[in-house]
């Protein structure tokens, strides 16, 4: 059952904003949602024809609920009903609910599988929570006194840290649907009134927070079943614990996998959480002190988030969003506020409130929830530090870290200076944590298994080779000497690489491979010492965290700054690559069930032609006095490329100085279809740049950000390699094939990629020297043999074994 929802408003902006607000309830899920708002030429108004089309589009056969603002919206919606097909009309409910409140309840209710009439009823009841809060509760009819001979009762305690909020409430209502039972719920802890369990919005009025006791009373023939289902749901925290990761991460039995290159030798880090001390009370306005501290931590987290998003990817950055949410969590703040009002000082109140939250999580049965406790402690400590606290016993945080798993938040703060290496019992080289460890330069071996991890924890000294995937417990002097020799060799190798960084990367047999730098900000361009070009400039940096789109002049200045930092070397400017997973303020987007398969990259650019036109103008202006590549992301078909090229031609015309002589055009190859159709694109491009991160996700149907499937999303999977080969084959002799994903920065993969036909590798600033050095070791004939062998491998592990 997937009821569609249509939003009708006089104002497009109002409708989009309401949809965005409602989308926050769904975390990307939800059924069809269409907007019919404003007039075609812009301006306020409603259009019955547009509404009828939206209704038809939103109808998947299970009905549609239409929410409207006022006046003509209602009349137009009624008229629209006359325009849709008869069978559709019978499934449409025009809902009188207030637009914003109603929409939020409706999307949650629809996502929970409610039928159209129920979604509409829920939406109409949406005012109850607000009017109740403001003391103007509508006269709710006293609950019908049900016959008691079949009555069943029970109680449960709310276990979720965020209480019985909309999503679990929808689970609750959904579980009762279809049962012949009148179910009444009462918040015993608040001594509140009884409400119907059939109504999402009434369940919301329970105000059930974590720890509250809820009494259940049911009557009817299915009463017993109803109570049984509710108690079972409650015991399972209403499915909340299962939400992010239900599958335990696979822990192979002792197959150590190299996850981050480098050698680490040292003592095992003292286990246990390193807490920050709670600073002594400081007089003054405690609310204000805490607000200031939270504000500075929030700024810091946002900066880290933006950096992670630029350097690693949106999925990896999301963890920091979660930390910001925790920092501003209204329930946590309410708890802290109560403590402050009771006279506790800011630091103690914050520490105690967050310890409570972390304690609740740490005791959870679910592995994922337990891991979240680390996030909570992390946020706790950051704020305490901002309030003047210091980390207790800094030295305790030094040494090789041995753990079952590592959260991204934990990985992101590890410092190679104090953490020579990381050894994990589980995880995979493609998990969040491993990606972050590579980015930070901390050597790591993962998947060593519980047995080896257990022995490692007991060890005095560990020797770890993150390139080879070796972990030696309490090494004897000879082994220790061997690892030291490897470390020295690695150091020499890196020194040699640095010394030669300005030299071109030429294989032993004389083939030049360009090594570029991936740039997420002008600062990255400066850091890309020795790069032959900026092979990927993520122009998103100019668009994030703004209220409005950057002007042509602003963009021109930003791209010029990168050109200047690259000192005349070519810059490859990728046009804006965003999607519905992270909408920009000035670019409201409808909620998509799956934004990574939705309107993003070139699709978004073509849907917002002005945005693209402005960016291309800025790019063309710079291209008149700097060698520039323009690169279009997420291209799936040749018509998209043709449309983008037309937009580029128009930009050239608008700038009015003719076509810049050294302007080249290319596409990102991230969609498997584009790789397989490379020959069709080849006549119209100067280069292909393979985005192995997204190509891998799309090829293996596994999201890198989801650690439960991250192990599947391995760029060394022979399926991905075959697509790289297909791209190179389709490119022919005149189209350059580049790789700008994370795989390009893997020294061990350099020969394989060159063997597959890749002639440009664009990598993070820190990897330019080592990748150039790796290319210098490549022999093209042998590389081609290696590529052929890799393509014949059954899986990524076999390919990795070939590379070692």
């Amino acid at each position: 059952m997937t009821v569609g929802i249509v939003v009708v408003s006089h104002s497009r902006a109002l409708a989009d904003a309401a949809v965005a607000l409602a989308g926050e309830m769904l975390h990307g899920g939800g059924g069809p949602l269409e907007v019919a708002a404003g007039l075609d030429g812009g301006g306020f108004g409603t259009d019955a024809v547009a509404i009828s089309e939206a209704v038809a589009a939103a109808d998947a056969g299970d009905g549609v609920v239409v929410l409207m603002d006022l006046g003509s919206a209602v009349l137009s919606a009624e008229l629209a009903l006359e325009m849709v097909d008869d069978d559709v009309r019978g499934r449409v409910v025009l809902c009188p609910a207030p637009l914003v409140e109603g929409l939020i309840v409706a999307v949650v209710s629809a996502a929970g599988g409610a039928p159209a009439t129920e979604v509409a009823q829920e939406a109409s009841d949406a005012l109850l929570a607000k009017s109740g809060h403001l003391g103007a509760a509508p006269d709710e009819a006293a609950p019908e006194q049900v016959v008691t001979d079949t009555e069943e009762t029970g109680t449960f305690t709310v276990g979720m840290p965020h209480g019985l909020h909309a999503r679990p409430a929808a689970q609750l209502v959904g579980a009762l649907r279809g049962l012949d039972a009148d179910v009444r719920l009462r918040n015993v802890s608040l001594d509140g009134p009884e409400v119907s369990g059939a109504s999402l919005s009434r369940v919301a009025t329970l105000g059930a927070l974590q720890g509250h006791e809820i009494a259940v009373r049911a009557a009817g023939t299915d009463a017993a079943e109803a109570v049984r289902r509710l108690l079972a749901l409650a015991a399972d925290d209403f499915g909340e614990s299962a939400l992010p990761v239900a599958v335990p991460s696979p822990v192979p039995v002792g197959h150590p996998i190299p996850a981050s290159p480098g050698i680490g030798i040292g003592p095992v880090r003292a286990t246990g959480t390193v807490s920050v001390t709670v600073p002594e009370p400081v007089p003054g306005d405690q609310h204000g002190r805490l607000d200031d501290a939270r504000s500075s931590v929030r700024d810091h987290l946002r900066a880290v988030r933006d950096r992670a998003a630029r350097e690693i990817g949106a999925a990896e950055a999301a963890i920091f969003d979660a930390q910001v949410l925790l920092l501003d969590d209204p329930e946590v703040l309410a708890d802290v506020g109560t403590r402050l009002d009771a006279g506790t000082d800011a630091a103690r109140a914050w520490a105690d409130a967050l310890d409570d939250v972390a304690g609740g999580l740490a005791g959870a049965a679910d592995e994922y929830l337990r891991a979240r406790a680390a996030d909570v402690r992390d946020v706790r400590d950051q704020v305490l530090r901002a309030l003047g606290g210091v980390a207790a016993a800094q030295g305790a945080g030094e040494g090789i870290l041995v753990a079952d798993e590592l959260t991204p938040a934990e990985a992101a703060v590890l410092d190679p200076a104090s953490t020579p290496a990381v050894v994990l019992a589980g995880s995979s080289p493609t998990a969040h944590a491993a990606i972050l460890l590579r980015a930070r330069g901390v050597p790591a071996v993962v998947g060593v298994g519980a047995a080896l991890a257990g022995r490692a924890r007991e060890a005095a000294v560990l020797a770890v080779d993150g390139s080879a995937g070796e972990v030696v417990v309490d090494p004897d002097p000879a082994t220790l000497a061997d690892f030291r020799a490897r470390a020295e060799a690695l150091g020499r190798h890196r020194e040699e690489a640095s010394r030669l960084v300005h030299e071109p990367a030429v294989t032993r047999d004389g083939t030049t491979v360009l090594v570029g730098v991936n740039v997420g900000s002008p600062a990255d361009a400066t850091a890309g010492v020795g790069a032959d070009l900026a092979g990927l400039v993520r122009t998103e940096f100019g668009f994030l965290d703004r209220r409005e789109a950057p002007s042509v002049d602003e963009q021109e200045a930003a791209y010029r700054a990168i050109g200047k930092a690259m000192d005349g070397r070519r810059i490859t400017l990728r046009t804006l690559d965003v999607g519905g997973d992270k909408p920009l303020d000035y670019l409201p987007m409808p909620v998509e069930a799956n934004p990574f398969l939705g309107v993003r990259g070139i699709r978004l650019a073509l849907a917002r032609p002005q945005l693209l036109a402005d960016q291309l103008q800025a790019i063309v202006r710079v291209a008149h006095d700097h060698p520039v590549d323009v690169m279009f992301p997420m291209v799936a078909g040749v018509d998209e490329l043709a449309a983008a090229r037309r937009a580029l031609d128009e930009a050239v015309e608008t700038v009015g100085r003719g076509r810049p002589a050294d302007l080249r055009v290319g596409i990102m190859v991230e969609v498997p279809a584009a790789a397989l159709k490379a020959a069709a694109f080849a006549p119209d491009v100067d280069f292909f740049s393979i985005g192995t991160n997204d190509l891998t996700q799309y090829t293996l149907a596994a999201e890198r950000g989801n650690d439960a499937v991250a192990a599947l999303a391995d760029a060394l999977d022979p399926g991905v390699l075959a697509l790289i080969k297909a791209t190179a084959d389709g490119a022919g002799d005149h189209v350059l094939v580049a790789v700008c994903g994370e795989l390009a920065g893997d020294e061990q993969a350099a020969a394989l990629l060159v063997g597959l036909g890749v002639r440009e590798l664009s990598v993070a600033p820190g990897s330019v020297a080592t990748v150039k050095q790796a290319v210098r070791d490549v022999d093209l004939a042998k590389a081609r043999e290696l590529a052929a062998a890799a393509l014949a491998c059954p899986d990524a592990a076999a390919v990795r074994a070939l590379l070692r």
Binding site: D40, G43, G45, D47, G71, L75, S76, L79, E82
Partner: protein, 214 residues
Amino acid sequence: MADVDTDTLQRWLRVFAASVAEHKDELTALDAAIGDADHGANMDRGMQAVVDGLAATPADPAALFKQTGMTLVKSVGGASGPLYGTLFLRMAPATGGAASLDPETFAKALRAGLEGVVARGKAEVGEKTMVDALTPALDALDAALGSGQSLADALRAASAAADEGRDGTTPIVARKGRASYLGERSAGHQDPGATSAALLVAAAATAVAEQGAA
């Protein structure tokens, strides 16, 4: 008595469009007093779109009414979009697909249109809406045709009745549309919807009189 052909019906729409354009500021001023100050602009935009669409001549009155209704629905934006749109959309089937309309069929089509407006807006006479001009107009039209008057004369009577109905909206306290939010304060202002509706009836009288004169 000649039937009303598509040429005359198109003239009706052109005259109405010109009349709305001429009274655009007045309609907007009336709406500014008790509504959201867009009636003149909205109707003008809608009727210009209708006139622009006339270039492609529809086959029969039903097609013309349908095209007009759809255009208004799509381009007016405010409440008058679905209301005037409904008026014309409901007129279409009431013509029975005739190539030209005899006076009774034309009156019947207008009546069907009015019924559509009443159903859509849930407004009755005396609630300060376009219904207050259209209802007495169509009552007068039916009465005049029943007493054997020509369509031209009957439409003149209808137009006079519409004007009277329009003037009668001034003292009423609005109970529909945004004007109703003003409550008592809406009294003392002439209703913009009734005003444009009276223009519509007057335009029909003008167009049919010209057909008779031609």
